[in-house]
């Protein structure tokens, strides 16, 4: 008997393809003696499909032919089990039912990584790998992330946020505000995307409009922050939960453009379709020991402050001029699960996945020991609902 593990990937997100790369890579690393892997591909339309063909990276080049070999799937709860029900063709064929033990969302971006899929899985009551709804949502919104970090006393760059509608209503006012409160050069970002999509560096007021317009096509809320001139980007992965976690070695991605853009991150690298793992980078980052230790402890503090779970990659900005370190953003489901950082830290990819599964079951156990519902039906003894509403009942009628 093996643990049934469903890998969710794809989704209606601009990072659909990145998710496929991360997921297929992971599925080839999961220990098949222990786990029965069920790939659950979420099409751009939102439909769920499964099939053996989804393990094969090369088949994704021709999506229509790949989809022909998949079958639609639905998920529901029955008793204390969550069932994956796979449709079968044929007039009287019954769907194939698989009890789901654990879900592994390897999705990136809005509509999935932002707490959406976590909410779906929590609602079903199935254990799943990674952050819960709240931490996922915090991680996805750069403005909220900064607010939470600031509240926890952790260093972040000051920023200004505004709504895209407000910008188009009065461009001059927003430009003036950005100039006076931040000044140039500055960075414009949509609040809700990873993988550097829609991010630009703005040197003069003239460039501002283009940058904001681009960002507005991805999000309704825009974030502007000071651009650190002499910048080094340093990333650190964290593994664990809010009670206990550990930091990986650090990496320093090579900056080809001024900002690590989406193309740079995933498309322009010489070896195609290998994801974050093949990006140009230095591991471990060349930093003095005390700086490394500082960044690692900041990474753990940030991870715990937002109540993260599983593996996350936290990106830092290091101001070469001042030596000051800032938390930039968190990836609650990092590309390639940041396995390359864990391998460099002495933890193999399959072992990393075992740890993630363990963490997910641990969280589920804690969830189940907490009191969520009172077993007795409070309505069973109630009478006289109606005209007076339920306020009285709410007030404390249990004392009889």
């Amino acid at each position: 008997m093996k643990t049934n593990l469903a890998v969710f990937f794809g989704c209606r997100s601009v990072e659909h393809e990145v998710s496929i790369i991360s997921a297929v890579q992971a599925m080839h690393q999961i220990n098949r003696d222990k786990y029965n892997i069920i790939p659950v591909y979420v099409k751009k339309s939102g439909e769920l499909v499964t099939g053996k063909v989804l393990f094969d990276m090369d088949r994704y080049r021709d999506l229509p032919s790949l989809l022909k070999e998949t079958r639609p799937l639905s998920i529901f709860r029955r008793g204390d089990q969550v069932i994956l029900s796979i449709e079968k063709s044929g007039l009287f064929a019954k769907p194939e039912e698989i009890p789901l033990d654990i879900a592994f969302p390897i999705v990136h971006g809005t509509n999935c990584e932002d707490g959406t899929i976590q909410g779906y899985l929590s609602f079903l009551g199935v254990p799943y790998i990674g952050c819960n709804v709240a931490a996922s949502a915090v991680g996805m919104d750069k403005a909220v992330f900064k607010a939470v970090m600031r509240q926890a006393g952790l260093p972040v760059l000051d920023c200004v946020t505004f709504r895209s509608r407000a910008y188009f209503a009065d461009k001059a006012a927003i430009c003036h505000r950005l100039e006076s409160e931040i000044g140039f050069p500055l960075i414009i970002k949509p609040v809700n995307l990873g993988s550097s999509v829609g991010i630009s560096k703005v040197h003069t007021a003239a460039e501002l409009d283009d940058a904001i317009s681009l960002a507005c096509s991805f999000s309704e809320t825009i974030l502007a922050e000071r651009a650190v001139e002499q910048i080094r980007e340093i990333n650190c992965a964290v593994l664990g939960d809010a009670d206990r976690c550990e930091a990986s070695v650090l990496e320093e991605p090579f900056m080809q453009d001024e900002i690590l853009s989406y193309e740079n991150k995933y498309l322009s690298s010489s070896s195609k379709s290998k994801g974050m793992a093949s990006l140009g980078r230095k591991i471990p980052a060349e930093l003095p020991d005390d700086k490394t230790a500082e960044i690692q402890s900041l990474a753990c503090a940030a991870f715990q402050a937002m109540g993260a779970n599983g593996v996350a990659r936290i990106d830092f900005i290091l101001d070469k001029a001042t030596g000051q370190v800032y938390l930039n953003e968190i990836n609650t489901i990092p590309g390639s699960l940041a396995f390359y950082l864990w391998e460099a830290s002495g933890l193999s990819y399959p072992a990393l996945i075992d740890r993630l599964v363990e963490l997910a079951f641990r969280r589920q156990r804690v969830r189940e020991t907490l009191l969520f519902a009172i077993d007795t039906n409070l309505l069973s003894g109630a009478t006289g609902f109606g005209a007076k509403g339920t306020k009285g009942a709410k007030g404390g009628s249990t004392r009889t």
């Binding site: 008997m1 093996k2 643990t3 222990k34 033990d101 654990i102 599964v357 079951f361 156990r365 020991t369 404390g396 249990t398 004392r399 009889t400």
Partner: protein, 520 residues
Amino acid sequence: MDWMLFAAGFFAVLGALCALVRHVQILQQSSYYPSRYSGWLRTAFGANAVFSLFVMAILIALLFLSPLACLIAAAISLPFRLIRAVKLQKSAIKKLVVTARVKRLFLAVAIFLAIFLALAAWLDSKILYAVLYAVCFAQPLLTLCGWGLTLPIEKAIARHYKNDAKQILREHKDLTVIGVTGSYGKTSTKFILARLLEEGFNVVATPESFNTPMGVVRTVREKLRPQTQIFICEMGAKNVGDIREICEIADPSIGIITSVGPQHLETFGSIEQVAKTKFELADWVLGKNGSAFVNGDNEIIRQRTMAPGFQRYGTDATFPYYAANIRYHAGGSAFDLILDGERVPVETKLLGMHNVLNITAAAAVAHTLGIEADAIRYAVSQLTATPHRLELKRFLAGSTLIDDAYNANPEGCLEAVRVLGAFDGMKKVIVTPGLVELGEKEYEANYALGLAAAKVCDTIILVGQKRSVPLADAIKTTPFPAEALHIVDRFADAMEVLTELADLKTVILFENDLPDNYAG
């Protein structure tokens, strides 16, 4: 062939199946033990049976007089039997659960009656018809006949499930199986152990108080998953060999024996036999080089566990695992666990010496399996009491309530009073109607409770003038001040007294058989 007689027989058969529902319900609730079912029969045999015999006699008489009248009578009886069956099910507190076994039993009876009917019709024998009618009004006979006919099938199915469960367990290489047995305390210990082990493992335990071989088999087949790391198996026994039978299925490598006491003496015969049966668990785990954790505070267990290999726990500092420095306060109990030399101070909402021992047993096993001291301390602090079993609550005017309303066991009541007595510096009050349904021991038990209460309490409130006589008798033999003894008629009156005296420094014990919803 006489069609009228055949039709009459057909109606009688249908009616018989309707009336069977009630009997199968009882058989099911007797766990399919014919002896327990016939126990019910003896109590229920009355007016209904006489009426059934009367109808049966009329039908048989009509059979020989007029087939048409017989048909009409049989047809009329059918809706009555149907309505009665439905009514009985509707009013039953625990209704018949239509399981596969129940379906098989009904099918067997239906086939049996159908063959009978076919035979009577084929031979056109009025005698056979008469016997058929007789059978159709003899539900106990039909019930036992269905039970007997399906018994070989049921046994084969049970054997199949058992083998299936065994195979699931044998294929599960990394699973640790823990058996928990004892005359009392095994269910609580199981739940506490599960909570402690959940700090580090995926745990499955037999639910509620499932503790029979088939209960274990069901849990294994329905609940065990590949990621399960620990299976905790409660083992109950009524006869010698019962524990061994469960061990053969579950194959535990760790065992806990919580107690040996005079439970189920009627089937065991002697306390020696009880001890022997409980120790079948120890024999099993020691036989495969596992560990047997035993309650060394229990006199019978202490004598039997001098041999090496046993891990004793209790309150004795010579044991490898023991509890010391036990205190009770308004928030619960606090004590130090000494786990193989490591001192772990813990606090819990649970009260009572038995719970201290249950926690010590669970902590001993958790410690052995590598749960860290901090995690044990946290899990112990999170344990919750079973409702109305020494359950601590806030009460009137900030006072503390020990709700032990579901306790009906004399030894347990005395322990509750001891717990009350341990609340140093608090005003101690007991509210109780005394114990009932203890037969000849009742007066003696209540007298003992009265003496114990008089020793520790500042105020005693007895509910029920008549019921509480033995308690009052006992209290009056002590120097307990008469003005602090209140004897009231109803619980509401007791509440009035409590409203007068309750304050922050008061602790109140509700002992046995008080209304369910007094303390929202």
